[in-house]
Symmetry: D2
Subunit: 346 residues, 4 copies
Amino acid sequence: MKALVYHGPGDKAWETVPDPAIRDDTDAIVRVEATTICGTDLHILRGDTPEVAAGRVLGHEAVGTVTAVGSGVKTLAVGDRVLVSCVSACGRCRFCREGRFGQCLGGGGWILGYMIDGTQAESVRVPFADTSTYRLPQGTTDEEILMLADILPTGYEVGVLNGKVSPGDAVAVVGSGPIGLSAIIGAKMYSPSFVVAIDLADARLEAAKTFGADLTVNNGRQDAVAFVKGLTDGLGVDVAIEAVGVPASFELCTELVRPGGRVANVGVHGKPATLHLESLWIRDVTITTGLVDTFSTPTLLRLVASHQIDAGRFVTHHFALDEMEAAYDTFARAAETGAVKVVIAR
Amino acid sequence: MKALVYHGPGDKAWETVPDPAIRDDTDAIVRVEATTICGTDLHILRGDTPEVAAGRVLGHEAVGTVTAVGSGVKTLAVGDRVLVSCVSACGRCRFCREGRFGQCLGGGGWILGYMIDGTQAESVRVPFADTSTYRLPQGTTDEEILMLADILPTGYEVGVLNGKVSPGDAVAVVGSGPIGLSAIIGAKMYSPSFVVAIDLADARLEAAKTFGADLTVNNGRQDAVAFVKGLTDGLGVDVAIEAVGVPASFELCTELVRPGGRVANVGVHGKPATLHLESLWIRDVTITTGLVDTFSTPTLLRLVASHQIDAGRFVTHHFALDEMEAAYDTFARAAETGAVKVVIAR
Amino acid sequence: MKALVYHGPGDKAWETVPDPAIRDDTDAIVRVEATTICGTDLHILRGDTPEVAAGRVLGHEAVGTVTAVGSGVKTLAVGDRVLVSCVSACGRCRFCREGRFGQCLGGGGWILGYMIDGTQAESVRVPFADTSTYRLPQGTTDEEILMLADILPTGYEVGVLNGKVSPGDAVAVVGSGPIGLSAIIGAKMYSPSFVVAIDLADARLEAAKTFGADLTVNNGRQDAVAFVKGLTDGLGVDVAIEAVGVPASFELCTELVRPGGRVANVGVHGKPATLHLESLWIRDVTITTGLVDTFSTPTLLRLVASHQIDAGRFVTHHFALDEMEAAYDTFARAAETGAVKVVIAR
Amino acid sequence: MKALVYHGPGDKAWETVPDPAIRDDTDAIVRVEATTICGTDLHILRGDTPEVAAGRVLGHEAVGTVTAVGSGVKTLAVGDRVLVSCVSACGRCRFCREGRFGQCLGGGGWILGYMIDGTQAESVRVPFADTSTYRLPQGTTDEEILMLADILPTGYEVGVLNGKVSPGDAVAVVGSGPIGLSAIIGAKMYSPSFVVAIDLADARLEAAKTFGADLTVNNGRQDAVAFVKGLTDGLGVDVAIEAVGVPASFELCTELVRPGGRVANVGVHGKPATLHLESLWIRDVTITTGLVDTFSTPTLLRLVASHQIDAGRFVTHHFALDEMEAAYDTFARAAETGAVKVVIAR
């Protein structure tokens, strides 16, 4: 089959590789009908994650059809159409028992396109298939469900739920890339007083508005802390969600938040940040970090199926599978192309 | 009356000052029968808190008898014996309505011995007396109740409750001064699997054992992270409580904690710490900070009265009121004197 | 002044009574600019609450202007325009400290128009004025804020929050009177998969639709349990909210709910219900009851001010103050008149 | 092998049956080294559960050694010594994903000794073995671990955790049989102000004291409600735990509880109770029901291993496997024999 193979920093190719096969009895093989590219894939290609071996097929998001199942797979059958989640779950370990699938100790967690071959391919082996895939609900399209493979549960669980967004809250989302936009969608589901999107790029802020941000601040030009305090009796927001992954945006969140408020970090960080405990120790602040667990995926599927979430709006570009390299090019130059999520489908 | 007056960095005196008087109708005047000294008082004396004006009477902890009440005081009468809490609460503002009294926006919060004259005196004016004092329960001693003015609710609320200590948890408490010991007492109330006390001083670790620590580590001589991981299948503790107030101990807590665990900062910090988001972003960690709210004071009073908490064990030294300066000397040289809490009483 | 006076079962009159005056220093006198009638007022008139003394001025909901304050009132001044809440809070007792104002032990709770004279009058004495009234936010109308005196916090706190409505939930609301409609509005703020309104009257179900119900069932004609199970894989709803106050509707809720689900009782009951523990003991059901605490009133005020809640839609009829008896007549005959909430305003 | 077989109401025998064998690839066969009898077994024998087929091997609690595993079992091997839990969990369904294993939709839940053959036998087939058994921790005895097969997690999860017992709480436990005693042990782990045990039998109340009850009331002779109100400023307890399973004891719990308190039903009921909504609607009461999920079993294992819980104290009588019928006789006549838990071991 054809797949997008990582050959080391800066080097990838859409090329022929062996077809995947069942290795463990809980595996399924899924024919990929739609996949997409994540910011993390770009990190891997830059060489930021030396633990990724050359030869690895990238990608951790897919919608497709089951073409084979191991003898231990109980709830899936050949022909079933499924969402392949970015997180695999053994279903047996301490953390899986608690719904903390992203921290799976039994061989799961985020492994697809990272520790094992992934979804940017014509077909993919999915471990722990019973507990790592989801049937497609009626009345939905493949491309909207594809948004539930990673970004929607990530923004919702790690941003909105960790941040405990509640009705009437003032919410700031720092960063308006795909994850920030997911956090905006998720936050709006709780009827906050307002969501303010903060970013350095006006184009992304325009996108944030269409995703539901009530207010926007370009913090290259404007003092976001002063702006937010002006709206909140000088106190700051109830919840600040970090969706960039650099020290400055994290530190901004700790300044934006009111006494008793929450900072939910969603961004993937490569460097330490400074935590100003000399002012924060007295302010009753809660800071959370997290990898998505995807425990919310069934809930989000219901919300897409009932049209509470319009997941399709993330998709800005479409490609065929054998245009994978063009899709990467478009996604990597998002500032120019305006790409949010690109769908690569048969 | 006599009082301990701050005259600027390094300069204090037990001297005659005017008697306190009712200023606002919700004030009470309380004759101090027992008071104590807090690490924060030493900070003020070192000049770390330039916002404290020269001439200020120090102290924010007392047990005494009401000698006068303003016309707006409804639940207290002259002759009532009360605990004077370190936190005053207006009872009307947004944060007081939520039980977040430490963040009171109506003139309360931590003000005694800081923004207004305090309790290291023969008498003290207590603002918002109805909502800032507590009747002494039957069958308790003044000196055990005095421990509820600050350290016990601080260790319990900011350490144990923020850290969500639960039965079966592995708990690390970094720092075995009065606040760390309070956190140990509080943590043990939840039947953890074990509490490990971590400190640089063997004498404090010995004290920690008598307060209930199951295990101790001198992290000047021993690798605390390796020790803790050895006890927890390599994962780390469920809860790490910071009770020192320096960057190194906070950073240690973030290394001690397991994926999905909680770091509760209780220490008063003067400098920023480094937050290693490059490793923490993926580990589902919750970090909390906080000033005590004292919402738990009624609960703790019940637990002292029912002998679930032996609060008297904190008290290592006793002084008369006019030995206030000797009491300061003993408390300031705790490493030599073994002082945990000194009680200054009539 | 003129006021609506209860003279015993079935007997009321809009008549002249003495003007209210400050009795306690925390009282305020409020000139009533808008008031309304609650189902509970009808109960009192029917004689269901013998604890209400003849001579009592009824009503527990108002918007008006402060005309006098006691010496202990700190945050209100003559001329302030305020919402008078159905719940008064002493702000000092155990339950007020926990935000459980409805259970106030210090003389508050639901007292207006019940234990003391109420708001269906030209003027009203409001005890504990600092902690029992709310400033009107900018950009709102009196009549929409009036809906926050009772029904909106009741539906939200006792129905939606007690029921822990969450995104994606299936929610049933039994009863589509004013409280049921409030519960529907509140539930929709959490983006459920659907809200199904259940009632015996088609007209009320039509109203439920305009308030946001996704589905309706007339359970006089249709099997509500079967309908709901058909939508939920045979399991039942996540949350069932009882908003009628009769045994049959409570018992229906316990049949509608899925294993692990919640039943939130909001209705005012006069008779016991049967609890089918022989089937419920194994089903992990949570049942809650409650009187409104109004802790959510500030949140709801923000949501009305930010147009997340359209509170004005409850108002079906308008009357002048001296048309109070006509207003009662219209409200009492709601089935004929279609009254939801009637506003009586100057 | 030999097993205790149910032959219809009142008819059982310890007799020869075929050895169990692997049916599904996730099964294990466990050689029973210790088992016990539950009150539910007596219910079955009385014919209260007509869904139990004649020929069924009874029993849902065991400790033993794995003698065979299906090909889909990943974490267990022949020779492993395990606790067999009363609840089996498929690990894949909606409820198992949420840790609500008792409500498993995938073929698990409470099935052993009920829907399939159970543990009162020389050997037992355990379905979903990976997610339904637990390795024995070091330094524990079989008979103390056996208490974690059902009663300890039941008292803890359904009584203590559902009831949200917290430090300082006043707690009433109605019924001092094995489940009530488990609830007392669990409640004491949270440092309540006091636990009052209420029962009709003095002998059981004596047992309650040795399990940690601070106070006892024989409600055949004494008014339990008056007693409890006398201890709680007239309010009632924070948490009332029902551990009998008859309407009167449930109704008593609803009278014992304070406004804002919780009633946790643990008892297995055969008849409806009366819920006095005419008084409860206004009292902010939370009522919970539940079957044990055993999500707490790993926590309880740690607490037994660290000697926080002395589980062995439940065991009053010992029998050999072929004395099974004598063990039943002793357990069934608990009032005379003083049996709490009987252990039947090789």
